[in-house]
């Protein structure tokens, strides 16, 4: 690979890498959201359908 081709490959690789890093960050957020929703679901079950929150 000539030096020119190396730089072209590097440029396009950087863009791909950036998108992958971004996907990883969004993935981490999804993991956090998943955990939080699970907690809330458990909390909602504990308060039970009868004593719903709004007439508390």
């Amino acid at each position: 690979m000539s030096s020119g081709e190396k730089y072209v490959a590097a440029a396009y690789a950087v863009v791909l890498l950036a998108v992958l890093v971004w996907v990883a960050i969004i993935g981490a957020k999804l993991v956090r959201l998943d955990r939080e929703t699970a907690e809330l679901a458990a909390l909602a079950r504990r308060t039970g359908p009868g004593r719903s929150s709004d007439d508390g």
């Binding site: 000539s2 020119g4 072209v8 950087v14 950036a18 969004i26 929703t37 929150s53 508390g56």
Partner: protein, 228 residues
């Protein structure tokens, strides 16, 4: 809402466009006469810059809507759009310096006006995030971020002019940009890759916005449940 339904369509559209752009750039467009293979970086570097402008513009437009209508949702949209713009701005700087290395053997050159402009904008929009993180959540933060986003979009043309003027006395090496003389197929490849990058930015914008909205909804849900 309708957008959510059509989201997969847009995502696949983006993937399709990106694939088409790859094919066009590497197989269809002829190699540049004097620059050789390294000219291929141009097909991504410039569209990424233009996409960054589009994101900053969207951020400013949403900010304006926020100031007009006081609707809270525009704050998140403006923030996400500016965030996308900063990501694409950083990519512009990185691909730009790779191109500078390939074309002129230096990792950074002050003579490429667009590169210098993105350095200024990058500084500006990092300050946007610093401002946002130093304010308590609420209408005050939304409004100040909106006003600062408007200043950002006004800064783009003004500082581009300033950088062009600055070139006259800092080191007036006249640098000839060959962007314009592109053959027909090259120009087609350029347009396809620009469309692909715009689509990519839009998809990333929507995903990030959904993530932030889920965060907000979860916060309300937690409050409703814990308040019981």
């Amino acid at each position: 809402m309708s957008v959510a339904k059509s989201f997969p369509a847009r995502a696949f559209g983006a993937v399709g466009l990106m694939a088409a752009a790859m094919v066009m750039v590497f197989f269809v467009a002829p190699e540049d006469a004097d620059q050789g293979i390294s000219q291929k970086i141009f097909y991504f570097h410039v569209p990424i810059a233009l996409t960054a402008y589009a994101c900053f513009g969207t951020g400013a437009w949403k900010a304006l809507r926020l100031l007009w209508t006081r609707e809270e949702r525009y704050d998140l949209e403006s923030y996400t759009a500016v965030h996308q713009g900063t990501i694409f701005g950083a990519l512009t700087l990185i691909t730009g310096s790779i191109w500078a290395k390939a074309s002129w053997g230096v990792w950074w050159t002050w003579s490429s006006n667009q590169l210098v402009l993105f350095l200024v904008l990058f500084l500006f929009y990092c300050a946007y995030f610093m401002l946002r993180f130093s304010l308590e959540p609420g209408p005050r933060r939304a409004r100040l971020s909106a006003v600062y986003a408007l200043f950002g979009v006004a800064l783009i043309p003004v500082s581009f002019l300033a950088i062009r003027l600055a070139n006259d006395f800092i080191h007036p090496t006249v640098f000839t940009r060959h962007g314009a003389q592109m053959t027909h197929t090259m120009f087609a490849a350029f347009c396809v890759s620009w469309a692909a990058l715009l689509a990519l930015a839009h998809v990333m914008y929507r995903i990030e916005l959904l993530g932030k909205r889920i965060d907000a909804n979860l916060r309300d849900l937690r409050e409703a449940l814990t308040a019981a």
